[in-house]
């Protein structure tokens, strides 16, 4: 699921975002890409929103990734140290493809794990 954030993200926009997120949260291992390319301004309600999103998705063993982060959004994320807790990608497609790569890697790991006893 890709959710694009508007130019300004405050409390109202944060509520809309969380509503839009609900269908994805009903799935097992939800995968969400937040497109932040249009964001020019965001306040602490937006930061709370991202953290809420991350913790709710993490509870369902999913992942949230940020993409196309505008310089303004990048500045706020860096300012609040949130750049250290989110995975960030230059574009939405790169963020989306990182999910499938992760799946390939996981499959590879599980194949190797199952193969190990035979080798031993």
């Amino acid at each position: 699921m890709v959710i694009k954030l508007p130019e300004y993200v405050g409390a109202k926009e944060a509520r809309s975002f969380m509503r839009a997120l609900q269908p994805e949260l009903r799935r097992d291992r939800p995968r969400v890409v937040v497109d932040m390319s249009a964001v020019q301004d965001m306040d602490s309600a937006a930061l709370d929103m991202l953290l809420d999103c991350m913790s709710q998705i993490a509870r369902r063993d999913g992942a949230v990734k940020l993409a196309g982060i505008s310089p303004q959004a990048a500045t706020v994320l860096e300012l609040t140290r949130m750049d250290q807790i989110f995975e960030m990608f230059p574009t939405v497609s790169e963020a989306a493809s990182s999910f499938s790569m992760a799946r390939v890697d996981n499959n590879k790991l599980s194949d190797e794990a199952s193969a190990q006893p035979a080798v031993a």
Binding site: Q40, D41, D43, S44, L47, D48, L51, M54, S55, P71, Q72, A74, T75, V76, E78, L79, T80, R81, M82, Q84, I85
Partner: protein
């Protein structure tokens, strides 16, 4: 020093570099490189650099060379600058009669007082001029007008023979224009910073710390290359990495780090756990809890990121903003009562709490 009158002009926020209103001699004498007089919304000359505004420093330097009569013509209000602080005549031309009539009246006043030489300076660039040497050159060349050049670029710094302005008709501005063809060029080789961009301002602070220019921090050197202004309060658990400047009446709270040749000017507050690296924090700025402020100029709620070259307004006073009077008074009261600086921990924002928790969970430590 001979009888010299100095006119310093400062453009206000209403004008841009192109209209030339802030520079008395600029457009008419020689077009200089486009210079913006504003730095994050106010004239660069009124901004504090390591405890004192550029304008106050220029005035003090001119006084050091023996200039007795100094007038400042400003189009806007100059924060933290008064005629008393500069010991100069201060004219606000933002209202009537306007910039040029104010300029003409100051020139007229100087001529009536029998000044022999006028020094006209547009405050924008910061220039460490050797005034006696400039005046010597002006006398030796017997030119009616001398303009200062730095690396082939004309600076808004002109010496004029007052007697030549007395003659003639029309406004003094037009008489000055009439002297342009006879101007001499004075090549200045000392320190100059055009202050056209925020990065230039940052460079000025770095140059001051490294001794590349003559600016010195106003305060007490508490440790090698770490200066504190009067009544600056730094929590014992805070880390200050040299070189650094903490301005007067500024509070640096628990677990903060100030590094990367940063300056935090007067009456600021850096709240608990915040890191400030490679930054200039302008007077009266509040930096919220647990922040990571890097490569930036911060003035109230405005932040200019030096690497990304963007200026943005952060409309959330829990992150950055102006230091409120009540908060400042509270801090001062607690410092008087012997508070340990941990009071603010009850004011942790939900974001910084969650961010810290998640960082701890992910990396196993607090960043």
């Amino acid at each position: 020093m001979e009888n010299i009158g100095v006119i310093l002009t400062i453009a206000g926020p209403a004008h841009t570099a192109s209209d030339g209103a802030g520079g008395a001699p600029r457009k008419r004498i020689e077009k200089t490189k486009a210079t913006s007089p504003l730095l994050m919304g106010s004239p660069a000359a009124s901004c504090d650099v390591l405890g004192q505004s550029i304008m106050d420093r220029v005035v003090a330097r001119l006084r050091g060379f023996g200039a007795q009569r100094i007038s400042i013509i400003s189009e806007g209000k100059l924060a933290g600058c008064t005629a008393t602080s500069t010991n100069a005549s201060l004219y606000r031309a933002g209202s009537t009669p306007g910039f040029w009539p104010a300029w003409d009246s100051v020139v007229s006043e100087y001529l009536n007082q029998g000044m022999e030489t006028l020094l006209l300076v547009r405050l924008g660039p910061y220039v460490e001029l050797d005034l006696p040497d400039l005046l010597r050159f002006h006398r030796e060349t017997a030119s009616p007008l001398t303009q200062v050049y730095h690396r082939q670029d004309a600076l808004d710094l002109v010496v004029v023979d007052a007697a030549r302005l007395r003659d003639g008709t029309g406004s003094f501005r037009s008489r000055l224009s009439g002297l342009i063809p006879q101007r001499q060029r004075y090549a200045f080789t000392g320190y100059a910073n055009r202050l056209t961009e925020p990065a230039d301002f940052r460079r000025l602070v770095q140059d001051a710390f490294s001794g590349r220019c003559g600016l010195r921090p106003v305060g007490r050197e508490v440790r090698p290359r770490i200066w504190y202004g009067e009544n600056a309060r730094v929590d014992r658990s805070a880390t200050i990495v040299a070189p650094a400047f903490i301005g007067a009446e500024t509070f640096v709270e628990a677990s903060c780090t100030i590094s990367g040749a940063s300056s935090v000017e007067r009456q600021c507050e850096v709240d608990c756990g915040t890191s400030v690296d490679d930054c200039c924090v302008f007077p009266g700025t509040y930096l919220g809890m647990g922040l990571n402020v890097t490569h930036a100029l911060v003035k109230g709620s405005r932040l200019f990121h030096l690497n990304r070259k963007i200026e943005m307004e952060i409309n959330d006073s829990r992150l950055i903003g102006a230091t409120s009077t009540s908060r400042q008074l509270g801090r001062r009261a607690r410092s008087v009562l012997g508070g340990n600086g941990t009071f603010g921990s009850s004011l942790v924002t939900r974001s910084s709490q969650l961010a810290s928790l998640l960082t701890t969970r992910r990396f196993g430590r607090l960043s």
